[in-house]
């Protein structure tokens, strides 16, 4: 920190006795990765940079569009068509040349997330889709990194600090403890479809910045294990506390390899009509807890299944044994994927819309083959 200049720049916050020079130094030493330079990311980035967070990463693969400008306040008309991450970094360098800004003009995926996040102390999620949100959550859990969570819908926003412990012996909470099952993208409208008033991400993104600064400097009471909901129409806030849900811990990939093999897009985008799933989608599904896998082959058919838990109900006994199926999501498997399609028809007749029923495309043979190809 350049002592003379810096003192003047940050003087108004340094004179707060809870904050002080020590707080400023903590900010300067901190590294924060902001995922998404959109409605939430812009105000968040602006306040983190202004406050003097020493290293800020900005990852976004999107380009600035005219319809962004009513809420994405780091951009102007001349930025349209240019990369958000780079334009945001340029703007923030003008605002505060004393800090390091790193722009990643790429999409965050489960292939690059662990590596990218590894260099930072905190991750802030300002993304706009569930597939990325669940992926970021799982990556933070694997890396044990605090996650600043913010999300909006029309006139309401949510803020929370996840994967972070208040005290050493506390248990941390993650997004899956709040929403165990990823919604399909078509179940919940995003900003493009539902609309959003520009100030809402402004408020929620600023709240995220506030939580981030509190967390780094250790002042106040950050929203650790707490979800805050804010409504712009009524100014009502509602806070609920979160606790770990043991049932969901198995949904999170256990290591880097299984994280990279997860198909997050599929988890959040499959339409119920597409009842045939391919081996990679199947691999993602078998990591979920709330699922029944049913082997509809005869009792003596080989190969035996050793890689996952399943129920054995041969096709012609399926109808009378349907009460053995308890979970909302069901995947049927057989040797080649033909009998399992019949099984889907039978089960769909019984359960109608109450369950999501899938068939493993190409059967266990195709799945085994794919597994071997990967090894």
């Amino acid at each position: 920190m350049n002592k003379n200049n810096s003192y003047e720049r940050y003087q108004r916050q340094i004179i707060l006795k809870e904050f002080g020079v020590a707080g400023q130094q903590k900010l300067f030493d901190a590294k924060v990765l902001v995922v998404g330079a959109g409605g939430l990311g812009c105000p968040l980035l602006q306040y983190l940079a202004a406050a003097g967070v020493g290293t800020i990463g900005i990852i976004d693969d999107d380009k600035v569009a005219l319809s962004n400008l009513h809420r994405q306040i780091l951009f102007s008309v001349k930025d349209i068509g240019k990369a958000k991450s780079e334009q945001a970094a340029n703007y923030l360098r003008q605002l505060n040349p004393e800090i390091t800004l790193i722009a990643y003009n790429q999409r965050i995926t489960n292939q690059n997330a662990l590596e990218l996040m590894g260099d930072f102390d905190y991750v802030a999620d300002g993304t706009d889709n569930f597939a990325t949100r669940y992926m970021i959550n799982d990556a933070c859990e694997l890396l044990t990194k605090p996650l600043l969570y913010g999300a909006i819908s029309r006139f309401e926003g949510q803020v929370a600090v996840l994967n972070c412990k208040k005290n050493k012996d506390d248990e941390s909470v993650n997004y899956r403890d709040l929403f165990p099952e990823p919604p399909k993208q078509n179940e919940i409208l995003n900003c493009v479809e539902a609309g959003v008033l520009g100030v809402l991400p402004g408020i929620i993104g600023t709240m995220m910045a506030n939580e981030c600064i509190k967390l780094i400097t250790g002042i106040g009471e950050p929203l650790i294990n707490t979800l805050l909901t804010y409504n712009t129409l009524t100014n009502e806030t509602y806070q609920v506390s979160l606790s770990p849900d043991k049932k969901n811990q198995t949904s999170i990939p256990k290591d880097e390899k299984s994280f990279k093999e997860m198909n997050y897009e599929w988890l959040c985008t499959a339409a119920p009509k597409e009842f045939e799933i391919d081996p990679s989608a199947f691999n993602s599904l078998i990591q979920q807890e709330n699922i029944d896998i049913i082997d509809v082959r005869e009792f003596d058919e080989k190969p035996d299944i050793n890689d996952f838990n399943y129920l054995k109900i041969p096709l012609d006994e399926l109808e009378k044994n349907s009460s053995k199926i308890h979970h909302e999501t069901v995947v049927t498997v057989c040797q080649t994927g033909k009998r399992s399609i019949q099984a889907v028809e039978i089960l769909s007749r019984i359960f109608k819309d109450q369950k999501k029923i899938y068939s493993l495309k190409g059967g266990l043979m195709q799945w085994e083959k794919q597994k071997k190809d990967h090894e």
């Binding site: 300002g126 569930f130 919604p183 991400p201 909901t229 509602y238 609920v240």
Partner: protein, 86 residues
């Protein structure tokens, strides 16, 4: 007055957030008193078919619950859907 009659006369209020408000047509709804959060889901799903496809977390007395918990007419119940927007 017998207990069952008191129970029948009482109701519970539920605070809704996000798109659940559109489904129910209101920020708050009242339902007849029920014994636990499992019955709550059943009651909501029968009263508002739109809840079938909706994902939401249930908070009882400002705590998100993951197991079935008992409810009484004093319980503060809130249903919070996930938001994806950013």
């Amino acid at each position: 007055m017998p207990d069952w009659l008191i129970l029948q006369m009482s109701y519970m209020e539920i605070i809704l957030f996000g798109q659940l408000r559109d489904i129910a047509g209101s920020n708050r709804i009242s339902i007849d008193a029920i014994k636990d959060t499992n019955d709550l889901k059943k009651e909501l799903h029968s009263k508002y078919p739109g809840f079938d496809n909706a994902k939401y977390a249930i908070a009882v007395d400002k705590k998100i619950i993951s197991e079935t918990v008992p409810l009484n007419t004093e319980s503060e119940i809130a249903l919070l859907p996930p938001f994806s927007g950013g």
